[in-house]
């Protein structure tokens, strides 16, 4: 499992001085060059993430067998996790939803995680018909390129992704192509301070004066 992560563009040096309101973190000595998703060298290296139920284990094997273009991802605890390239995201999502032995039709959560050089969008999908099933799909949106990070939208597969994608667009600046209505959702219209959930965001707005110092 751990080998699959080498495909992840490494997130070098990301814990340090992250974000506007945090301080440099004291970090374990061995993780200086490795992000949380990279288990190599850490104490969890080479341990396949143990799945809590046999049903999830079966699902992991089914997905790994049927969809060989997916890379297993070892950082996730408790759910089978896979990484897909952007070009095959939509196709994979369709297969996950429609293939009867996978059948993950319920998109629970769609989140974006900034890893400095790329943004991971993570899909947590479950099955209502088969309550024991669930899996994680990850896809990386590179920040390089003139268009900025972009991904195909999965609203055609899981319509509920619409607002989640708007949120990721709003807070992390990932554009979703073919999205029905890609607008800001949480931040005020006309907000121009960058993308708050990126690690290099700093709040430039005028702050109310605080007597008490901030750490």
């Amino acid at each position: 499992m751990a080998g699959g992560k080498d495909a992840t563009p490494d997130a070098t040096g990301r814990g340090a001085a992250a974000g506007g309101n945090s301080v440099p973190m004291a970090r374990p000595a061995d993780s200086g060059s490795a992000g949380p998703t990279v288990a190599a060298g850490g104490q969890d290296a080479a341990v396949a993430p143990e799945l809590p139920t046999p049903e999830l284990e079966t699902l992991r094997q089914v997905i790994a067998r049927r969809l060989s273009h997916l890379e297993p991802d070892g950082a996730t605890v408790g759910l089978p996790a896979f990484r897909v390239v952007r070009e095959r995201l939509l196709e994979t999502a369709r297969q996950w939803r429609d293939a009867p032995e996978i059948g993950l039709e319920y998109l629970s959560c769609l989140s974006g995680v900034d890893y400095r050089d790329h943004i991971d969008v993570v899909y947590h999908v479950f099955s209502v018909a088969h309550p024991g099933r669930g899996a994680v799909l990850k896809v990386a949106a590179q920040k390089t390129g003139t268009a900025g990070p972009w991904l195909p939208s999965v609203t055609a597969v899981w319509p509920g992704a619409e607002w989640h994608e708007r949120e990721v667009f709003d807070l992390l600046g990932v554009r979703f192509t073919d999205h029905p209505d890609l607008r800001r959702i949480l931040l005020p219209e006309g907000f121009s301070g960058g993308y708050p959930l990126r690690r290099d965001f700093s709040d430039e707005r005028v702050q109310r004066e605080r007597k008490v110092r901030q750490r």
Binding site: R208, R210, K211, V212, R213, Q214, R215
Partner: protein
């Protein structure tokens, strides 16, 4: 048919609804007229962290160790240590500020304090028109503690 059913249903709903409200009319009201009457403050309830004063010496229990400052998630406590003229540290705080406008009443500072110097008060009416007035100094905090303790001695010990 359907019409009669609906008439019957409507009539029944009215009778049931009125019966319930009539029965409730016979009970004592449960509302408290707040500013005039105050509901009892439950034991173990907390409002804001305040500084305890030592009974015998009349000084604060706080030794200015800074653990509460570090434990507070929104960092609303600020402490500076007292120094004497020679620059030696003294075991009490020179200043102790609490920014009530940021405090989320989570009790973490009280749990972090190893010297039993902080406590959650029982005083809730601390609002003010100015944000600046919500930044409390150590004297004010000790005052609130005294009021709160007076209330509590009348109302029983806390959890």
């Amino acid at each position: 048919m359907a019409l009669w059913d609906r008439v019957w249903q409507t009539g029944k709903s009215m009778v049931v609804g009125h019966a319930i409200t009539m029965r409730e009319m016979l009970h004592k009201p449960v509302t408290v007229r707040y500013p005039e009457e105050k509901p009892p403050f439950e034991r173990g309830s907390r409002s804001v962290p305040v500084l305890k004063v030592n009974e015998e010496s009349g000084r604060l229990n706080c030794v200015s160790c800074g653990l509460c400052e570090r434990a507070c998630p929104p960092s609303c406590i600020e402490i500076t240590q007292a120094m004497d003229e020679k620059g030696r540290k003294k075991p009490w705080p020179e200043t102790f500020q609490l920014d009530l406008s940021h405090c989320m009443v989570c009790n973490l500072c009280v749990e972090a304090c190893p010297f039993d110097a902080l406590e959650m008060a029982d005083v809730v009416e601390l609002g003010s028109y100015q944000v600046q007035d919500l930044i409390l100094q150590k004297g004010q905090l000790a005052e609130i503690w005294k009021t709160s303790r007076a209330l509590r001695v009348a109302g029983g010990e806390r959890l």
